[in-house]
């Protein structure tokens, strides 16, 4: 019977349960509704007439009294007769086929995945790697490493976006702290997202993390930064920006790939020989027998 998807509720019993002839359920009562009406009328009186509030007050008192005796000294219950026969849970419809139960019903793809910490590690490594092209750009173009740092900090300090190149080329402790916080937290978050995304692209993780994601991210920023901050938009060198993003993505993806993968519950469903590494993954055979 089970093969046809028929379920017998009797099967839910674990040896202790019995089918009782009646079930005790709380009895119907008008008092919750009356109490709600009383409260509502009390407030309505504030915008209509005091007599409405007075009526509400009396309804509230009466309903509270009634409700009190619904639950004290004992809850007021009624007995509902129970359908005592074994209940067969099945569809009686004939014009629609039941959904197919495929061999994939418990398949979790992939059977191994990266842990959250792998993404964080990747994000930190990528964030450090990203500073190299950004720093080179800053030194070559503005003869100061601090230009890139301060430009990033200007994302937090709106007034800095209008400052001169000379100002941005100087060391500012405030700028360093702000840029470190922004860059560090963003790198960790992006790393987390990579960690979440990489299992979705198991075949070419480096390609995804290193090139596709940076280009997508840069494209989105390129299209909106002119609206968000035209001054920052004018100061960003997009070629170097893309190079920095690629550096982030490649290193992040590389570091994530170095981490040991975590096995999903699907792995535990595989035969021992597969788990032991003696055979390849034939996870469909178990379910395929059904």
């Amino acid at each position: 019977m089970e093969e046809d998807g028929v379920i017998q509720q009797q099967a839910q019993e674990d040896g202790n349960s019995t089918i009782t002839e009646a079930v005790q359920l709380p009895a119907s009562t008008p008092w919750p509704m009356v109490l709600a009406l009383g409260v509502a009328l009390m407030l309505t009186g504030m915008v209509t007439h005091w007599a409405v509030s007075l009526l509400g007050f009396f309804l509230m008192l009466r309903a509270s009294w009634g409700w009190f005796f619904q639950v004290l000294p004992h809850d007021h219950h009624i007995s509902i007769p129970v359908q005592a026969e074994i209940l067969v849970i099945t569809s009686t419809r004939t014009t629609r086929e039941r959904l197919p139960e495929g061999f994939m019903h418990r398949k979790i793809i992939p059977i191994e995945t990266f842990s959250v910490t792998a993404g964080i590690k990747g994000g930190i490594a990528g964030g450090i790697a990203m500073t190299v092209p950004a720093g080179i750009f800053s030194v070559v173009r503005y003869h100061s490493f601090w230009y890139a740092v301060n430009l990033l900090a200007a994302g937090g300090f709106v007034s800095w976006a209008g400052q001169t190149d000379a100002f941005l080329g100087q060391f500012h402790l405030k700028g360093l702290l702000a840029a470190s916080a922004i860059h560090g937290l963003t790198s960790i978050l992006i790393g987390l997202l990579y960690g979440a995304m990489l299992p979705m692209f198991p075949r070419k993780p480096i390609l995804t993390a290193g090139f596709i994601a940076p280009f997508l991210w840069t494209g989105i920023l390129y299209s909106v930064l002119g609206v968000i901050s035209p001054i920052l938009n004018a100061r960003i060198d997009w070629l170097w920006f893309v190079l920095s993003q690629i550096a982030f993505g490649l290193v992040c993806g590389f570091v994530v790939n170095l981490q040991v993968k975590v096995r999903t519950p699907q792995f535990r469903a595989l035969p021992f020989s597969v788990r032991a590494g003696l055979h390849g993954d034939h996870s469909d055979t178990k379910d395929g027998k059904q």
Binding site: A36, S91, G102, M104, R106, I108, M197
Partner: protein, 560 residues
């Protein structure tokens, strides 16, 4: 009658003269059964959906062409206030809590909610709150001292709500009705939390809870935190208006920004209070129609908890234009962007669940696919708006209107429709028509995209929110016309849905108890379930108890 719904039974018996109407009404009015209360929540919300939908259409007609005088400016202000308030407080929350009421006890193998009488009280006080809000229309122009409908926006910013700018009682109606519904919402949330913690059947550990129950649990916890500040603010506003307190009176040392803080400490978590149940529906539907277990259950739970926490720390991104200062702006920009991480994890997990699955594109599933696509876009525009400089330029424009409708309609309403098609057979014992469902989906999808995709454009072109009309020649005409046409499509789609709901109740194909071959406990009951839910209290051994019952030779419990 074995497959009749409680509603159908009542209708049939009343029409056949077996029971007088009063008796049927009394039975429903006095019920403490969580399923009936859930259905009443949903019915109430559908009524308010229709009302608020009509208000939206009237606004779109007004804005479809420039220099239009279809309705007056005053009526327009009332319409957008009532539309927003109704959709958020009297449609969104009741309908979601209606589903929660119906499903949570069934899914955890309980016989009822922990506090059934409180449950009834919560419903009725919410319902009376809604009635009070709309009573303001009937009390127009001074009858019993009632003003006309509220016209201060669903956010009711101070000092617009001060007595001097908002004379009469219209704002009081807004405040008092939301106070009432707030009491009801907290009551329901309390019930859901207690029921989930205390009334799970044997074997149902927290990590075996259906994800729907997890998400309703987190949502309910958020309600406790979010509704309190709103209630406090409303009491303060009432004191301002009635006894001359000056909490929000800027002329007497009060602060208008204080209202904004209070309101958005409620308002932003509210978005997640609405969207988490929508996620909950998708969590249940996508695996069943992909014929795969949900991918990353622990990650989904963790992401939900993270969203719950982070959403409480992002309220001020609604206030960038106030001038919070660089430190405040930076914090809230960052906090807002951080929330995209757990949300992204959810999207990846849904995609991973679908990936490699045997997908069955029944109506609930296609609505879920629509949800996934639209929620992604809504998230992207959300990230754009979380950047303070971008927000400064577009905060008061139609771009923001388009963004939040993308979330509220594109994600939440699509997930709600999916939920209706999915659980309707359980509630009624009958299937909804797939043909009408597909018509509903395509009409609503086309309408949705015509409306809210194109609403971004006039926003980018500088069209402000809440304007009554506009002059020709600003480049907004064509976009507004398209938006109006899209709204009509959505109306036609919704009419299809309502017709399907009613028609299927009487003529729908008999569903049986488990028509989707699903895995959670509610499908182990008859359709519709009896008042006691389970004749035998069930015992579960895994996250998919019905799978274990159907396949004892290969139960899930071996893998968890």
């Amino acid at each position: 009658m074995a497959n009749a719904t409680p509603v159908m039974e009542a209708i049939d018996e009343t029409l056949a003269g077996k029971r007088p109407v009063f008796e049927v009404v009394y039975e429903w009015a006095t019920t403490v059964d969580h399923k009936k209360i859930g259905l009443m929540y949903i019915f109430l919300a559908l009524i308010f959906l229709i009302v608020a939908g009509i208000e939206a259409i009237l606004m779109r007609i007004q804005l479809a062409v420039p220099n239009n005088h279809f309705i007056s400016p005053q009526v327009f202000n009332q319409l957008f206030t009532m539309h927003g308030t109704t959709m958020v407080f009297f449609m969104g929350m009741p309908i979601l809590f209606g589903f929660g009421n119906y499903l949570v006890p069934l899914m955890i193998g309980a016989r009822d909610m922990a506090f059934p009488r409180l449950n009834a009280f919560s419903f009725w006080i919410s319902a009376f709150g809604g009635l009070l809000l709309y009573f303001s229309y009937f009390g127009a122009s001074g009858l019993y001292g009632a003003g006309s409908a509220p016209d201060v926006g669903w956010f009711a910013y101070a000092p617009l709500t001060a007595k001097v700018f908002s004379p009469g009682h219209s704002t009081d109606y807004w405040t008092l009705s939301l106070l009432l519904s707030g009491i009801g919402t907290i009551g329901t949330a309390l019930n859901i939390v207690t029921t989930t913690i205390c009334m799970r059947c044997r074997g149902m550990t927290m990590m075996r809870l259906p994800l729907l129950v997890w998400l309703f649990l987190i949502t309910s916890c958020m309600v406790f935190i979010a509704i309190g500040p709103l209630t406090a603010a409303q009491i303060m506003l009432t004191l301002d208006r009635y006894i001359g307190a000056h909490f929000f009176d800027t002329q007497a040392g009060g602060s208008a920004v204080l209202w904004m803080h209070y309101f958005w400490i409620f308002g932003h978590p509210e978005v997640y209070i609405l969207v988490l149940p929508a996620f909950a529906f998708v969590n249940e539907i996508v695996p069943v129609f992909s014929r795969k277990a949900i991918f990353g259950y622990p990650a989904m739970v963790a992401a939900t908890v993270a969203i719950g926490f982070i959403s409480l720390s992002v309220w001020a991104h609604h206030m960038f234009t106030v001038g919070l200062g660089a430190a405040g702006n930076t914090f809230f920009v960052f906090a807002t962007m951080v929330i995209s991480v757990p949300t992204g994890i959810k999207i990846f997990n849904w995609l991973a669940t679908i990936w490699g699955g045997k997908i069955h594109f029944a109506t609930p599933m296609i609505f879920c696919v629509g949800f996934l696509f639209q929620f992604l876009i809504a998230g992207l525009t959300g990230i754009m708006l979380s950047a303070a400089p971008f927000d400064w330029q577009l905060s008061a424009s139609y771009f923001v209107v388009a963004h939040f409708h993308y979330v509220l309609v594109g994600a939440i309403v699509f997930a709600l429709f999916a939920a209706f098609y999915y659980w309707y057979p359980k509630v009624t014992g009958r299937m909804m028509s797939e043909t009408l469902g597909k018509w509903h989906f395509w009409l609503f999808l086309i309408g949705f995209h015509l409306t809210f995709d194109f609403m971004h454009v006039p926003g980018l072109l500088g069209m402000p929110r809440r304007i009554y009309t506009y002059e020709a020649g600003r480049g907004w005409e064509m976009w507004n016309l398209i938006v109006g046409i899209g709204a009509i499509f959505q109306v036609v789609g919704t009419v299809c849905f309502i017709f399907n709901l009613i028609r299927s109740c009487f003529r729908g194909e008999i569903a049986g108890h488990d028509p989707w071959d699903a895995w959670t406990l509610e499908w182990a009951t008859p359709s519709p379930p009896p008042s006691y839910n389970f004749a035998i209290e069930p015992t579960v051994h895994s996250r998919r108890p019905l799978w274990d019952l159907k396949h004892p030779e290969d139960p899930d419990s071996d893998y968890e």
